[in-house]
Amino acid sequence: MIPEPTLSHLKDRIAAADHPRELVVDVMFALQEHYGYLSDEAVETTGALLGMSPLQVEELATFYTFLYREPVGRYVIHLCDSVICWLDGAESLRDHLCRKLKIEMGRTTPDGLFTLLPVCCIGYCDRSPAMLVNRKVYGPLTPEKVDELLEKLKQESE
């Protein structure tokens, strides 16, 4: 269940909007914030709040990279998967990350720490190859810098 203050805050914003549907992404993010990912229940709640069917919410939820329809790890790594980063070795960096974390792209490590996802150009082409970890940008990356960062995050989490 979503805490009452969050819910009533959302309801107020929706009531104030000219076109409630324009808030759909905000609502989904707020609910994702609460559940840690956009659960089925969150999709249904979003629909109920905005007068949309769950399917209509799902259509949008599955379109956006930063809305997670499955549980994700504590650190969500979005590795840039676009042309400038490719030129600067993003693909070998991807292989390195997969080897290091022993998971494929799109998966979460069994300890629940890391989720590895691709993302389209994040606008840090000047720092390519680049990636985001929990929305914070890192780059230009090398395998060594990645190792260092992963190590640091692991320690932080202990």
Partner: protein, 805 residues
Amino acid sequence: MPKLIIDDISVAVPEGTKVIEAAEQVGIHIPRFCYHPALGSVGACRVCAVKFLQGPFKGVQMSCMIEAADGMVVSTTDPEAVDFRRHVIEWLMINHPHDCPVCDEGGHCLLQDMTVSGGHGMRRYQGKKRTYLDQDLGPLVQHEMNRCIQCYRCSRFYQEYAGYRDLGVMGIASRVYYGRFGPGTLKSPFSGNLIDICPTGVYTDRPSRYKGRRWDYERTPSVCIHCCLGCRITVNVRYREVVRIEARYSPTVNGHFICDRGRYGFFYASSDRRPRKARSGGAETRPKNARDEAAHRLEEITARHGSGSVAVVGGSRSTLETLAAERRICRQLGWQGPSLFTGTEESAAARRAAGHLTTDLAVSLEALKNADLILVAGADPINEAPMAALAIRQAARNGAHIEVIDPRPVTLPLEYVHRPAGTDKISEILRGLGKPSTEDASGDIQDLAARLDQSRRPVVVCGAGKIASERTVEQAARLARNLRRAGKKAGLFFVMTGANTFAACRMAGDPADLETLLLMIEDGKVRALVVVEADPMSEYPDLARLVDALAKLDLMVVLDCIDTETARAAHVFFPTQTFFETGGTLINNEARIQQARPAFAGGTPISQTGGGSHPPRVFRDDIPGTEALSAGQLLMDIVSALSGGISRSVEEFDGVAPEFSGFDPVEATGERGTWAKLPLRTAAGPDSPQMGGETPIKKGELLLVESVYGTEALSRSSPWLQELESEPALTLHPEDASRWGLQHGDRCELSTEAGALTVPVHTSRSTAPGTLVLPRHRRLRWQVFQHFRSGLDTVRIRKTGGEGA
């Protein structure tokens, strides 16, 4: 009118025509997947590429996205365009499985056609194909997502065109998925159209799965008989079994689509419960014996009690030919009837409607889409004539204002204003609106009156039968006529009760309805009944009275193609052919005369004679199960065996309806010829003054209504549609509910002197206060209320389940 040249042919087309459409006009079919005439263009698939040689655009462009303009020179055969299309197809085929032999779309698949004609005959791609899990979408539509080519036709049809929200497109890039939020039955009563519009085999017809390829089927153009609209269909028959119905394009009637009741209601035609043998006294007998017996007993009865002691009861699912035969027989032999309506009020309303529908006022479904204001009065389109709802939605999408005046909790897949008014109030409101000056209109309808005043193409959609009264019909017609006098292109669109109600209005005799006929049975005047393609025992609202009356008869002869309660009660029963076997003429709700040819010769399906294996290897010179004749023919045969009987062909209309004689049969394929409207002369019309007042409602009223599934005589036996039925419930306003201590979700018992039934309670604020709504559902014994609209002074309501029960 822009003029352009396509492949060296010059063509002038109306402003706004897309190049792909312009090409069609000169017979050039440019490949397409995402473009669909009813859905418009989105430019999603890239397969309609052509080369623009001269004019405002240059080079390879999408012909579905570019409007024809003066001076354009377009080539569809330019090597660059051909090569472009070949690559698009190869690219679409990358993820598509290569297993057409096990795909049910194979044989009528647009992707197959395009792949082959586009010149992509060899696979080069060796990688993995993207695969998906399918969803269970319910009994009608089979899902196979791996075959998708992302044309978006399905989601556009489902959400934009039809207005339902439980199927759409999810995901992004190579994960794009068309389906529902979770597996489950599709909610739209138009879902079957997905099958027709998907250019590949993602959605296929589930009931006919693996029954054959399109080329195996006998395919015949025909007309749907599951409501009054008469949508065009294609009937598919294999091995003496109707296996599938598809929508058939008609620019004026149904456009490209049909509803699911029309698509899946055909089960009765090949059901193993269909009666195939004549019966006498409950025992099967040879057709000739049954005929002799019926004729003999009719003769006896008329000899003893006079010719007026025999009556014919019919209905609106019969063809014009059968109805004419009934009329001829009653006229010439002096029999009563034919009584073609159930109740007196229903018959009056329907006949008044038919009398008012002049050629200038009648609008087609297509014209309904172009209305700029639609006023629905005493009609529930989704439940009574589903495709009308789809047409109204298209009007709404084009900006029309839609307003519904009805006591039922009408739901339409669009935005509309609903005024829940009791049945007795509808005509008053209409009368207020119909006054020459809107100043007279009372306060709460002033807004609507003003809108009507500003509209240019208003259409009044009005029920005409069991719920909307004769007075409502009269006021609706007056309103439409006044609007026309005010210089508007106003239209009138009646929602009638059956497929051939219009013809029934023309052919009904005296008495026109069963209710009146019952009086004659009760006082012993009528001793024998010939019931033709009708089932009073499940259609008449006062079963107890009906049963008593029928018990007084010396003879009841029933002719029908389905096994009904009335058929089982008959002294002599004759199986008849279905509309698929007889073909025939139907007149739809806009007085459009439509004819269909027989789709097949009938007979017991091989799947039944062979018990699932090879058909029995017996030589015989007839087709098993073809004893049935058309009801009209059978009637003629029976009476010709009477002394002094008549022997005429059922196709002859002279004497009974001269406007139909010399009427030229045309196949159900075209729009020309006699696909025209005839002005019909019916008993009730603008000039017939006598009209009953509104029945005063005592303490509220209970309405017995139609629902999209479960009430219509033929489609209600379809097992696929039965799966879609929701449990029939009593719907009422929450404030009324609390009067009886009821809440949404409770169960209650409704009882009258004649009996009782128990149903769940639904409350809805869009139900008119004082109105109780109950479907005439096959699962309910609703025939205890005596009338389709009955005063609540005769009904008792008691809570039997739910909190505090």
